[in-house]
């Protein structure tokens, strides 16, 4: 289980990487992909869709489960990683490379966890 030191995290196991003050990329953490198992599909939003803090903006499917992905920020979807539509296994293989969406015009964000705090959270949940 790895935690990338360059990112911030949510309690629901998304990572967020701030590109600048109002733009960020969001993906699923290594802990998330490991507990979900082999992913077979992602449902992504469309560019231009509004997202809000703690609201689901996408979902990921494994063979026998589906899980919502929650937004850590409020803003507008400015890009989606369409590569994942054909190759969802990238999330399993390289979770911190496989960003799901880019969100711009960020106006609000939830209290995010530092890598250290997130690592502690995973340790507690992993038990």
């Amino acid at each position: 289980m790895t935690v990338n030191s360059e990112m911030l995290y949510t309690k629901s196991h998304e990572w967020i990487k701030l590109m600048d003050d109002t733009t960020a990329r969001v993906g699923l953490t290594d802990f998330a992909q490991a507990s979900l198992g082999d992913l077979v599909f992602v449902n992504l939003p469309e560019v231009g869709d509004p997202v809000a803090v703690e609201e689901s903006f996408a979902d990921v499917e494994s063979v026998k489960a589906v899980s919502d992905v929650y937004s850590p920020v409020t803003g507008t979807i400015s890009a989606v990683n369409e590569e994942l539509l054909d190759a969802p296994e990238k999330i399993n293989a390289e979770p911190y490379e496989a960003w799901l969406v880019e969100i711009s015009d960020i106006t609000d964000r939830e209290d995010l966890l530092t890598p250290k705090e997130y690592e502690e959270l995973c340790e507690t949940e992993g038990e």
Binding site: V40, V63, K64, E89
Partner: protein
């Protein structure tokens, strides 16, 4: 196994139809098909053998014990099939004038009368083709009822977290928002949570009783009253009716609308469908029933009710899966008033017996007595030996037993839900118990052998991830 397309040979075929005895007409080139049409070219003998081979790789109730929880895989009596195949039923056009289809209408009329008696309802529609289809229909009745009273704020359906997945899905299709309420420790409705959930926005509650952990909710009267007091209606998911028919009726428990699964409770085969999901309701909902409701005149002739302007319309064409109703009626006539109750009682007896035979080894999260089914949890075995519910299920395949329902209900971890039904003998149950016990021992001694199971089936465990990542739903020619 070859696909039927791989048995095809140019020029082969069956000779079925005569030559044309009227002047032949061709369609003009601009409207005629140019795309190739690859259907098998195959002789009758090869069709027959192909399907015989497929048959040998199929497990039905006829092949052995099938304790698939929540699906009521009881024996399908053969007389039902013969009756449904009578030309007097199978060759009747759905749009024949009523006076030439009195037998069909009487079948629907009688089935309605008897099933209303069994459920404690006043009216019934046979149009829905399956349980989920019935849920959708029943919820539309609830929606139409509130709307007719101008009570448009009632937009929410309460569903316990132990419910069948179709319940919340049907509620959304009917335009409602779903309010999930957690179950209590005992797997039953948490009355306190229910009281907090109901209000002026409550359209109704969807519930199955006995519930999906196989327990009869003893607070049922309090539950239905709570919803009624809040102005909502109660929907009974009849998936588990087999436990209580002839013993207690949904209508007497405070339910306003129910759906039945004739292909579970009333012995008509699942066959992957065709199912039949008739919906019964109390008088207050009857004006909203789908079109095609049968009525009987005073002189004994049958006909269709005039279309009600308040009807929800149709949920499929015509009057439902009629031949399935024929089979169910045959079953009800066979069992009669004593037999219906006897079936339920023995379904419960069989489930409790199998549970008792296994409860020293397998973890039973809910203490008995159970109703027609019970839930085991493989969580302890998974922690101890890494053997999952899936492993146990796959091991059962090597013993010719269809596994119980896996990973349902969602509120139990590593769940296996077993429903033996009343049509299994004590010998079958003893044999199954023995197998379950042996597999448990095998899990302790040699867990790897269970991860490898099944080994004797036509194919081994499948690559489901690959199938879902790159779906291939058709053959490539």
């Amino acid at each position: 196994m070859k696909l039927i397309f791989e048995r095809s040979q140019e020029g082969r075929g069956c000779s079925i139809l005569p030559a044309c005895d009227v002047p032949e007409v061709d369609c003009s080139p601009e409207i005629s098909r140019k795309a190739p049409l690859h259907l098998p070219q195959i002789a009758e003998v090869d069709i027959s053998r192909h399907y015989t081979e497929l048959m040998k790789q199929t497990h039905g109730v006829n092949d052995g014990f099938y304790p698939l929880g929540s699906c009521t895989m009881k024996y399908n009596p053969k007389i039902n099939e013969e009756i449904a195949a009578l030309p007097g039923f199978s060759k009747i056009h759905p749009l024949q004038p009523s006076h030439t289809a009195q037998g069909c209408l009487e079948v629907l009329g009688l089935a309605e009368k008897y099933l209303c008696e069994i459920t404690g309802m006043d009216h019934m529609t046979f149009q829905p083709a399956a349980g989920a289809h019935g849920e959708f229909t029943g919820l539309l009745l609830i929606k139409a009822y509130h709307k007719s009273r101008g009570d448009t704020a009632r937009t929410k359906i309460i569903v316990p977290d132990s419910a069948h997945g179709t319940n919340p899905a049907s509620a959304v299709m009917a335009g409602f928002t779903v309010v999930n309420i957690p179950s209590g420790e005992d797997g039953c409705v948490d009355l306190e949570k229910l009281r907090q959930a109901v209000g002026e926005d409550t359209a109704g509650l969807m519930l199955t009783n006995p519930n999906t952990v196989g327990i009869f909710d003893k607070n049922i009267l309090e539950i239905t009253k709570t919803v009624h007091d809040a102005g909502g209606l109660n929907y009974y998911d009849g998936a588990n009716l087999n436990a209580v028919m002839g013993v207690v009726r949904p209508g007497d428990m405070g339910f306003d609308v129910v759906h039945l699964n004739l292909h579970k409770t009333f012995s008509t085969p699942h066959g992957g469908g065709p199912g039949s999901g008739p919906v019964g309701c109390k008088e207050l909902l009857s004006a909203f029933l789908p079109s095609g409701h049968v009525s009987c005149e005073e002189d004994g002739t049958y006909g269709f009710d005039a279309p009600s302007p308040r009807s929800i319309g149709s949920v499929k064409n015509f009057y439902g899966n009629f031949l399935v109703v024929v089979k169910a009626l045959t079953y009800i006539l066979t069992l009669g008033r004593e037999g219906i109750k006897e079936a339920a009682q023995n379904a419960v007896l069989n489930a409790n017996y199998l549970m008792a035979r296994l409860s020293d080894l397998y973890d039973m999260p809910y203490a008995g007595p159970c109703m027609h089914e019970f839930v085991m949890s493989l969580e302890p075995l998974k922690k101890e030996k890494g053997v999952t519910a899936m492993d146990i299920a796959k091991a059962l395949l090597d013993h010719g037993i269809h596994p119980p329902t896996m990973y349902f209900p969602l509120i139990v971890h590593e769940a296996l839900m077993a429903e033996p039904t009343e049509t299994e003998s004590i010998d079958t149950l003893d044999g199954a118990a023995q197998t379950f016990r042996e597999i448990y021992q095998q899990a302790l001694d040699n867990p790897q052998s269970l991860h490898d199971a099944p080994v004797s089936t036509p194919v081994r465990r499948l690559d489901e991830v690959g199938a879902a990542r790159n779906p291939k739903p058709t053959y490539s020619f």
